[in-house]
């Protein structure tokens, strides 16, 4: 027994109470429930929404049994209670929420104790007894109003307890959900520091009972999501040391060592949880300093069927930091529909009945469903082309960044890839193992990627443009089993603590190998692999439906998201590259744009990596590009607009021979961002015989639409304009017949051409509050309407990785029984079926006259001689926003009026000019024109303007605050 000055070790009993009035809490939810437990009748305070439902005449069809952890209480589930009631009132599924406060926690009964809790001492609840308590309360309350569906939900130690109860009562429940929790402390891993501090001998009662340090520390983990009033509410049942015995007992019951009384129970329940054969959802806050990634990994292994949603910005109190209530309720709906209905009834769609709805489709929608949804089973796998050329001595790949340039024949490449694949399998790579590639584009990346793919691994690609923090977040979320990297990548992996077994490119010296924890190199792997193949061991290759890649987005609108691709989807993408751009065996291409470059070998095309820095596309010179072209008589060039800009800027230095090489190019493709016509024209001068194309796509759908230089010119020369009028159906609609004269067409945004063969574009119209509709428009109905683009094709992403809710949102459409992707890009489709981009969904400006996309207005604004670039943002409440233009000036003064262009209000002549043009082209009223001291942009492209930040900045300036840097 621990004695502390100033506090009697005796803890008095206290009956259960109700909390009374608290923020976000309805007193109607509080119930006191007395049930028989392991040591007699005990009274629990329980959050129960049944009375509230009954008061509204609603009968529950399903029950959520929620259990809090330590040191919270059922207040943790107030958002879920409120959200479930809201949905029930609104006609949605009626879920009852039952969330007891554990015994000696929250407002439940306190027992009398003669001493403070210790790790081995008696008298306080332990895991097994807590599971029994939960069973008693759940059984009692479920009997009051039996429901068709019952699910469990837990957080922290409430997670593991509720999962344990669920595992042992699988006949009574239908699904399990857990937030951050830990089932087992993996052997050999240190206890998280915060718990170590709490557990250390005399510290235990001091930190948990004697003081409210543990309580305060836990509440401080919220990522700014808890108000002071809410923190007080969490502390309300733990005001005095006498009320905090349960907190200490909980911490004391963490079985950190084998001799602990609860150790054996924890091992048992871990096995039981692995036996759960029910739908499962894990919602995770990765910023949690206690329940670290390894606990999620452990849970994934025990519950391989689980859907996972990571809330990248959330910490331990994930249900405070993120909309857990919404995700849980959405997931339940996805699993069960409205639980009162027969299971599966909601899955029945009338896909057959709507299949002919595309009959009247225009050019933007001219694909038969069958074309884009064909099964790719018969299509070649990405590594097949290499095997077919295993005896071909022709050049497959040239890496111009090596000194001297390194050429690899098809025979060599095929052999190396087989060696890597076999070597990885020999070392234990299992199907679906994730392999993070930290290798710069070139022969090594090509070999590593194809080796991993052929071995059935999943390549994980996170762009260095994400920055160290962004890459770390991405790689932790993908949680690769392997990392193949060059020295800088491996060093970063070591420093940032990324997971995975390490493989270098070439063998490293002993000390370095040790420091970086590298177990082998590609060189060694290839040797090992060939030995295994020579010994007749077969190479196990993946199936088309297997996961091939997780590619991370640029993260310009929040944390980067992992995008999953199966082999079949990669095959479909190869098919598109062949059909659209003629990438096929025998062709030669310069691969200056990574995503497409990787497909050259798979298509039997010779790929040349130019000498440039991958992360700095602006380092590509005209001479380096010409040399790359000459290296394999390339007829195709793939690069980003930034690279082309520098190529054009350095074109004067080209020699006659280099110019001749450039003259052989038939297709110059610029991907990654829309290309201005002026740049296209300059590119055309360097490649006089080439078509200049600019495809539109994204990580989730790499090739969706395409436009060539002549069509860009044609689009710019035409003159139809949006009227800005809102039609009777409430959707902003363009009047395609109004002719507002030259230049006005720019108000429609950026034309990215027409859909690529096999891609369908539909449109989800945008309402007055800036939300895109659930119903999709296609064909002529979709024309001249501002909406979110929703695309379908065989080669769009399989889904988002470990982002169940995001995946659900982006893939919720079922039109014509096809797979669709909500792009988050907004714009419209014109009468000719061309796609016009007007910005991102979250950047819509919701004026009282209707929603506006920023892109069209910016395209118009950017033409003003005073403007270098601009952002159109909305200031004020949704639905009644003021339209504000924020400018980056082209010069120190306005070329027309001579007025200085300094940060703050734009000079009157500039404001009046822009206001008049925007009004003429769109009918929209520009409230203010501001000049920003600088423009915030993303790291990867240095071109995606952070409009949300500029909008906040504009709101501050227009609120009368001083001008700061956005």
């Amino acid at each position: 027994m621990v004695r502390l000055p100033g506090l009697s070790p005796r803890l008095p009993a206290r009956p259960a109470q109700t909390p009374g009035e608290l923020p976000g809490w309805d007193e109607q939810w509080s119930r006191l429930v007395t049930v028989g437990t392991v040591d007699g009748e005990r009274t629990f305070h329980v959050l129960d929404t049944l009375p509230a439902l009954q008061a509204e005449g609603l009968a529950p069809a399903g029950t959520i049994l929620a259990l809090h952890g330590n040191p919270t209480w059922s207040y943790l589930w107030r958002h879920l209670a409120a959200a479930s009631l809201d949905r029930a009132r609104g006609g949605g599924p009626v879920w009852r929420v039952i969330a007891p406060d554990q015994l000696e926690m929250g407002f439940s009964e306190r027992l009398a104790h003669t001493g403070l809790p210790t790790t081995h001492g008696p008298g306080f609840r332990r895991i097994a007894e807590r599971v029994a308590d939960f069973d008693a309360v759940a059984t009692e309350l479920l009997a009051e109003s039996p429901t068709e569906r019952t699910v469990t939900l837990g957080h922290d130690w409430g997670g593991v307890l509720s999962l344990t109860w669920a595992a042992r009562n699988q006949d009574r429940i239908d699904a399990v959900v857990s937030l951050n929790t830990a089932v087992a402390q993996p052997e050999g891993t240190p206890i998280p520091a915060p718990l170590q501090a709490a557990l250390a001998g005399p510290m235990l009662p001091l930190s948990t009972v004697r003081t409210d340090w543990f309580l305060r520390t836990t509440l401080a983990l919220a990522q700014g999501s808890l108000s002071d009033e809410e923190k007080d509410a969490f502390r309300a049942p733990y005001r005095t040391a006498e009320l905090r015995g349960g907190i200490g007992a909980f911490v004391a019951d963490v079985p950190a060592v084998e001799t602990h009384p609860s150790y054996a129970e924890l091992q048992r329940l871990g096995d039981d949880i692995a036996g759960i054969d029910l739908p499962a959802l894990l919602i995770w806050g990765p910023k949690d300093p206690v329940f670290l990634e390894r606990f999620l990994r452990d849970l994934r292994h025990r519950l391989p069927q689980a859907d996972i949603h990571r809330c990248e910005k959330a910490s331990h109190l994930v249900s405070e930091d993120a909309d857990v209530a919404g995700i849980v309720l959405d997931w339940l709906t996805a699993q069960f529909g409205a639980p009162s209905q027969a299971a599966g009834a909601v899955d029945a769609t009338d896909a057959v009945g709507t299949a002919d709805a595309t009959g009247a489709a225009g050019p933007a929608d001219n694909q038969r469903p069958a074309t884009s949804q064909q099964t790719a089973a018969a299509a070649p796998m990405i590594f097949d082309a290499l095997a077919e050329r295993a005896d071909d001595e022709a050049i497959a790949s040239v890496d111009m960044s090596q000194r001297p340039p390194q050429s690899v024949s098809w025979r060599q490449l095929s052999s190396v890839v087989d060696g890597i694949a076999a070597g990885l399998q020999a070392r234990g790579l299992a199907p679906g193992d994730r392999v993070s590639l930290l290798v710069t584009p070139g022969n090594n990346l090509t070999a590593a990627a194809y080796g991993v793919l052929k071995a059935g691994g999943t390549v994980v690609v996170a762009d260095a443009g994400l920055g160290v923090a962004g890459m770390t977040r991405a790689i932790r979320s993908a949680d690769p089993q392997w990392i193949i990297g060059e020295l800088p990548g491996l060093t970063l992996a070591r420093t940032a603590g990324w997971p995975g077994r390490r493989v270098s490119i070439s063998p490293l010296p002993g000390p370095e190998r040790l420091t970086l924890n590298v177990e082998t190199s590609l060189t060694e792997l290839i040797r090992e692999g060939h030995a295994h193949l020579a010994a007749g061991e077969p190479l196990r290759t993946p199936a088309p439906a297997d996961l091939a890649a997780v590619l991370f987005t640029s993260g310009s609108t929040g944390p980067a998201k992992g995008v999953r691709y199966t082999h079949a989807q990669l095959s479909a993408l190869m098919d598109v590259l062949t059909r659209t751009f003629g990438m096929r065996p025998g062709a030669g291409l310069v691969a200056g744009f990574a995503p497409f470059a990787l497909f050259g070998p798979g298509l039997g095309a010779t790929s040349v990596t130019p000498d440039m820095s991958v992360t700095k596309p602006r380092t590509l010179t005209a001479a380096a590009l010409a040399d790359a072209i000459a290296a394999a008589d390339c007829t195709m060039v793939f690069a980003s607009p930034a690279a082309y800009t520098n190529v054009c800027a350095t074109a004067a230095a080209l020699t006659e021979a280099q110019r001749a090489a450039c003259a052989g190019v038939e297709l110059a493709l610029s991907a990654g961002a829309p290309v201005p016509l002026s740049l296209m024209d300059q590119v055309a001068e360097i490649f006089p015989h080439a078509q200049i194309h600019s495809p539109y796509g994204m990580t989730e759908g790499l090739l969706l639409a395409d436009i060539d230089r002549h069509d860009v010119a044609a689009a710019e020369a035409e003159g139809t304009a949006r009227t800005g009028a809102t039609s009777t159906d409430g959707f902003a609609r363009t009047d395609g017949t109004a002719d507002a004269g030259p230049g006005a067409q720019a108000a429609r945004g950026v034309c990215v051409g027409t859909p690529i063969d096999g891609v369908r574009f539909a449109l989800a119209p945008i309402d007055a509050d800036g939300r895109s509709a659930d119903e999709l428009l296609t064909g002529t109905d979709a024309q001249q309407v501002l909406g979110e683009f929703v695309v379908s094709a065989a080669h769009i992403r399989d889904g988002y990785d470990r982002l169940w809710s995001t995946d659900q949102q982006a893939g919720r459409d079922t039109l014509d029984g096809q797979r669709w992707h909500r792009t988050n890009d907004i714009g419209h489709i014109d009468a000719a079926g061309r796609i016009w981009l007007e910005g991102r969904l979250q950047h819509i400006i919701t004026t009282p006259a209707g929603p506006l996309g920023p892109g069209g207005i910016e395209a118009l604004t950017d033409r003003d001689p005073a403007v270098l670039r601009s952002a159109a943002v909305g200031v004020g409440p949704t639905g009644t926003q003021a339209l504000v233009l924020v400018l980056e000036p082209a010069a120190g003064s306005d070329p027309e009026s001579g007025e200085p262009l300094a940060p703050g209000l734009a000079p009157l002549p500039v404001a009046q000019r822009l206001r008049a043009h925007v009004a003429a082209a769109t009918g929209a009223d520009v409230a203010a024109v501001l000049i920003a001291p600088s423009f915030p942009t993303d790291i990867r492209h240095n071109s995606k303007i952070d409009r949300s930040r500029l909008a906040d900045w504009a709101a501050a300036v227009l609120g009368g605050e001083p001008i700061r840097t956005p």
């Binding site: 020369a717 004269g741 009282p848 033409r863 004020g876 409440p877 209000l905 227009l958 009368g960």
Partner: protein, 356 residues
Amino acid sequence: MKILVTGASGLLGSSVAAALASAGHTITTLQRRPSGVGGARDIAASITDAAAVAEAVAGQQAVVHLAAKVSMTGDPADFEAINIAGTRTLLSAAQDAGVSRFVHISSPSVAHAGDSLVGEGAGPADPEHARGEYARTKAHGELLALAADSADFRVLVLRPHLMWGPGDTQLTERVIDRARAGRMPVLGTGAALIDTLYIANAVDAIVAALTAVEHHHGEALVVTNGQPRPVGELMTQMALAGGARRPKLSVPVPAALAAGAVVEKVWDLVAEVEDTLTDRLPESAAARLRETLSDEPPLTRFLAEQLSTAHWFDQRRTREVLDWQPRVSIDEGLAELAAHYGGTAPEPGTALTADR
């Protein structure tokens, strides 16, 4: 319809009365001075005169109540007598006389304590927190009017925000006069976004309210042009339209203020700390500030506060209830201002070429 317009000697009141008269209504006006509205029957009396009020409402079907004490200075008792007691007298007389429609003209200041307003609707009038005697007493008056609302006596409250136009002495001519004298200051960054209301639109809105009150009553609506603008930009344009040169005088940003205080707050502080402030400024700047502020506050303190922080409103409900749209845009209003005062109207932007 037989309509009583109170306060018809002011610009807005007389314009409303004239508009209603020319629409064929039978107009009576009530104020101390003649209304000058052709065809209207003037009753020359104060709203505080119960007998005169009773005479004025007799036989009316509708009342538009504009009479108010608006100035910034004065005896609080006067404000209360006119804006509270006068309104009470008028309401009860109108109810007694069987009037069925009552349009009460109030002010957005009744609901706000001087903080920034960004796309707000019309909150409830709050006399306790309203700033100054005018806002406080108008808030009381509005509450009285809304309390009197019933199915038989339908009350609709309009709160026009920062009205301007030819002949307006409250804002427009103050700006123009100061600018002509070279003493029109630009407040701080001049970027605070404000809503205003062109006079002709205010008149239309009040006329529309007389119809709308039949179906929508018992609520208050802020009325603006729905075109928020940075205050510095609009004041400059008013000055130019008024024939003044472009205001160059900006409120100085001395080191003492630059350290943290927001420059626009100068206008908040004018009344209380003018002396203290000028003590802290460099002498030349202090002299200029004194000159700017000396004779009277160049704009009233109330107005200065309105002009120093964001003040703009959600007009969706207003337009829905009144079934009304502003007829004159800000640029058109400025053109009319220029025609009236002989100044410069805003130029339409030059056509942009397709290529730079």
